[in-house]
Amino acid sequence: MKATPYISFKDINREIIELGGKGIFKCYQCGACTATCAIAEGMFISFRRVIKYSQLGLVDKLRRDLVPWLCNVHGDCIEACPRNANPCEILASLRRYQSVLYDWTGISRWWYFSTLKKKLLAIIILSGISILGLLSLFSTSIMNYLSMNIFVNLPNLLPIGLLIVLLSISLLVSNGYRMYKFVGGGKEYTVRFFDALKRVLSFWIKSENEAMKIPDKRIRILEHMFILAGIIMYIFLVLLYLIYPIIYSLNPYNYVLMIGRYIAAIMLVVGAGLPFVKRVSKSQKIHWYYKLFRHSTDWVGLGFVFAIGLTGLLMNIFNDLHIYSLTYVVYVIHIGIVFPFLILEVPFGKHNHWLYKTIANYVSARRGLIRGEILE
C-alpha cells in the first residue's frame, strides 16, 4: 500500500457554517442520520463520516467523498438527530463547498461566498451586455408578423449563441471531469457498466416511489421533477427549432412546437414558483422542508428558472395574441436572462448539481455501493 506523505488540514468549518451547515459542531458521530435514511438503507454509505471530515478539516478526504451528492433531502435525519444538528443542512452546505472545490476557475468560490447583492449586480451587468449585444445585431423590426430570424438576424446571432453555449458546457464538463478525478472515478470499480446502470435506475425508481407515497414528499418531488422536465423540454425544443425552423404557419409541426413550449414554460413557472412562494411565506402550516436554510445561490438558481419560464410563457402568449412589439421586448429580456444563466449559473451555480449528482451516482454504482436490494 502506498503511504500518504502527509495529510493536509484546513479549518473549513467557518466556511461550512457560512454555506449553511450551522450544526457542524453539534454532531457527535452517532450515525443516527445514516441509520434512519431511506437512501442509506439501499447503499453502503455514511453521512456521519463526511461531517467528521469537515469537523477535522480533512479537505482532501472531503474532496474525495461523493456521499453528499447522494442526499435527496428527504429529511428523516432531521427528526432522528439527537443533537438537533440538522444533517440535511450540513450536507447541503458540504455539497456547496465541494462544488467550490471542483471548480478550477475560482468563479464558483466567488459565487458561493459573495453576497446576494454582488451576485445580482453581476447578473445585471451580464444581462446588460447581452441585451446591448443583441440590439447591435438588430436589423429590422417587422410588426405585422413575427419573425425572430429577421428581427435579430439569426445567421449573425447563431454563431455567438453557439459559442456561449459551448463555453458554458466546456466549463461545466471540465468541472465535472475534475470531480470525477477527485472522487477517484475509474478506480475500484467492481460492477460492470450496464449492471451499474440497471442498479442505479432501479434503486432510485424504487426509493423515490416509496417517497412518493408520503404527501409532503410527493409535492416536493413533483416540484423538482417539473423544473427538471421543463428545462430538458426547453433544450429539446430549442434544438428542434434551430434544426428545423418553422416555415409555414399552418404546418402541424408548428403546433407541436407551440404546445410543447407552453407545457415547458408552465412547468418551469409552477415548479419554481410554488417553492418560491412557500419559502417566502411566514405561515406556520408550511412544511419544514421549505424552512430549511437556503443559501443565496439557491434563491438565484430558483429565480433564474422562474424568470426563464415566465418570460418564455409571456412570449408565447403575446405571440399567439399577435402583440408582436411586446413579444420582441420580452424576447430581448428572455435572452438577457438566459445569457447570465448559461455563463454563471450553469457552470458555477446550483444548476451544475445535476451533473455532479449523476457522476456521484454512477461512480458509487460502479463501485458496488448500491446494495441491489432494500434492507429489510
Binding site: 452517532c30 450515525g31 443516527a32
Partner: protein, 450 residues
C-alpha cells in the same frame, strides 16, 4: 443538646448521611416516601466495577440505621412543607396511614400469605406481584407489613362487591390471621411538625419513561426491557428467581442487545449524560454471560464513559474475559418480527460506516434518569430539574438555600461511590450547623386529619 437534622430520602446517600450524623451525636430524622428505606440500590443485583452483591453492601447499612437511638425513622411519609431559615426550619411531614400498628407488627408475613388481592409489585418494577397487604421486600427496613389502600377489599372495595355486601365489612383476612392483632383499619393520616437545624435532600432519581421514545417501542414490544427491569430479572430475589427469560415466550434469550443513551444526551428528551449507564450495561452484560454462558451480548454505545477508578479495566475485562461485544453506533429504530417476537435493530456501524440491521431476542434500554421532583423545599433547580448547587468546584453539596444540602442523584446523575462520598460531606456540614443551634421545640404530634 444540638438541634435535629432532617434527611429527606432513604436511598444509599440518605442512609449514609443519616448514619454519619448519628455518629456525630446529632439527632436525625430520616424521611422516606416508600415503606422501606434502601432506594434504587436495593433493586440492584450487583455493583460495578467489582461485581459485589449490592444488597450485601446495602443491607448492613440499612440495619445500622435501626441501631442508633438518635435516628428517628419516618418511612411511608412525605414532606409537605418547609419553612424558615438556616438553624430554624419548620417542616410538615405527612405520615401516610399503614393500617397496621407498626409497634405491634413483627413482620412475620402471615397476613401477606392470606391476602386474596394480587397487585403488580413496585419493587420488581411491576414484573412480579405482591398482595394488597405486603412487606416491600424481604430485607426491608423497617420490616413491617402495610396495606395498600387503593387495592384493599376492606378499605376500598370495588363497587359491585360493595353492593353485594350490603354494608357489612368485606374480607378482613389479614385481621383474622395476625398473631399480634396489629391490623388497624381505622388508622388516619398524621401530620408531624418538626423543627430542624438543617435539611439534607437525598431525593434521588427516577427512570425516564421509555415509552416516550416511540422508535424503541418500549411498552409495545414485549421483549424490550428497561435497565432496571433487567436488573430485577437477573437478580436472584427477582420475579423470575434469577432466570433470564423472555416476556413473550418464557424462553431464555440467545442474543441480548443493550442500547445506550436512551433519552439521554439527546436534545429531544434529556440533554445530560446519565453517568452510570455505560458501566451498568457492561455489568449487566457480564451478569447475563454468567447466568447464560452461551448468550451473545452486544452493547450499542456512542461513547464509552469509563470515568471512575477501575471502570476502564472493567470495560476491557468485559470485552476480553467475558466476550461482550461493543458496537459504536446509535440504534435509531427497533421493529418486531411477527412470527417469533424477535427484535430488529437498525443502526450505522460507525466502524464500517454503513447502515446495518441485526436481530436480537431481547433488548435492554439504558434509559435516562431524571431527578425526583421535590416541590416542598425552597431550592432552585436547573434546566434538567436537578437541584442547583452553590459552587460546582468548592461546595458541591450546599444548595442555593443556606442550611439545605443536596446529595446523591438529586443534584446530578451519579453512581453509588460518588453519592456516598457526598453524603458524608453533607453530613459534616449539617452537623456543624446543628451543633451551633439550641433545642427550642420538641416534636408536636397532632392527630388532625390531612
Amino acid at each position: 443538646m444540638s438541634k435535629p437534622v432532617l434527611v429527606i430520602g432513604g436511598g444509599i446517600s440518605g442512609i449514609q448521611a443519616t448514619i454519619d450524623l448519628a455518629k456525630h451525636g446529632v439527632e436525625v430524622y430520616l424521611v422516606e416516601r416508600n415503606p422501606s428505606i434502601g432506594g434504587k440500590m436495593a433493586q440492584l443485583d450487583k455493583t460495578f466495577p467489582t461485581l459485589d452483591c449490592a444488597s450485601c453492601i446495602l443491607t448492613p447499612k440499612m440495619a445500622e440505621v435501626l441501631r442508633y437511638n438518635n435516628i428517628k425513622l419516618l418511612t411511608y411519609s412525605e414532606v409537605q412543607e418547609v419553612k424558615g431559615n438556616v438553624g430554624d426550619f419548620t417542616v410538615k411531614i405527612l405520615r401516610k396511614p399503614r393500617y397496621v400498628d407498626w409497634d405491634k407488627c413483627t413482620g412475620c408475613g402471615t397476613c401477606t400469605e392470606r391476602c386474596p388481592v394480587k397487585v403488580p409489585d413496585e419493587y420488581n418494577v411491576k414484573l412480579g406481584q405482591r398482595k394488597a397487604i405486603y412487606i416491600e421486600y424481604p430485607q426491608a427496613v423497617p420490616r413491617k407489613a402495610l396495606i395498600d389502600y387503593s387495592h384493599c377489599l376492606r378499605l376500598n372495595p370495588p363497587p359491585d362487591l360493595k353492593e353485594k355486601a350490603k354494608g357489612k365489612p368485606l374480607c378482613g383476612a389479614c385481621e383474622k390471621v395476625c398473631p399480634t392483632k396489629a391490623i388497624d383499619y381505622n388508622q388516619q393520616p398524621e401530620i408531624i411538625e418538626l423543627n430542624v437545624a438543617a435539611i439534607i435532600l437525598a431525593t434521588g432519581l427516577e427512570l425516564y419513561d421509555a415509552s416516550n421514545i416511540p422508535e424503541y417501542g418500549y411498552g409495545k414490544y414485549q421483549n424490550v426491557y428497561t435497565n432496571l427491569e433487567f436488573e430485577r430479572i437477573v437478580s436472584s430475589t427477582g420475579p423470575t428467581n434469577g432466570n433470564i427469560i423472555r416476556r413473550s415466550d418464557g424462553k431464555p434469550p440467545k442474543r441480548i442487545a443493550w442500547i445506550q443513551c436512551v433519552g439521554s444526551r439527546d436534545v429531544r428528551f434529556n440533554h445530560y449524560c446519565s453517568a452510570f449507564c455505560c458501566m451498568a450495561a457492561t455489568k449487566q452484560a457480564i451478569l447475563a454471560k454468567e447466568l447464560l454462558p452461551e448468550v451473545d451480548t452486544t452493547i450499542y454505545y456512542m461513547d464509552m464513559r469509563a470515568f471512575g477508578k477501575g471502570f476502564y479495566e472493567f470495560y476491557k475485562r468485559a470485552m476480553t474475559e467475558f466476550g461482550v461485544k461493543y458496537v459504536r453506533g446509535k440504534v435509531v429504530k427497533i421493529t418486531e418480527r411477527q412470527d417469533n417476537k424477535n427484535l430488529l435493530l437498525f443502526y450505522e456501524d460507525t466502524i464500517h460506516s454503513y447502515m446495518k440491521k441485526d436481530e436480537f431476542d431481547m433488548v435492554v434500554l439504558s434509559v435516562a434518569v431524571r431527578p425526583n421532583r421535590i416541590t416542598a423545599a425552597p431550592v432552585k433547580t436547573d434546566k434538567g430539574g436537578f437541584i442547583q448547587i452553590m459552587d460546582p468546584y468548592m461546595d458541591t453539596v450546599t444548595s442555593t438555600t443556606e442550611g439545605i444540602f443536596v446529595i446523591g442523584g438529586a443534584a446530578e446523575a451519579r453512581d453509588i461511590p460518588d453519592s456516598v462520598t457526598m453524603a458524608s460531606s453533607a453530613a459534616i456540614k449539617a452537623s456543624t450547623i446543628a451543633k451551633k443551634c439550641v433545642v427550642e421545640q420538641t416534636i408536636i404530634t397532632s392527630g388532625e386529619r390531612a
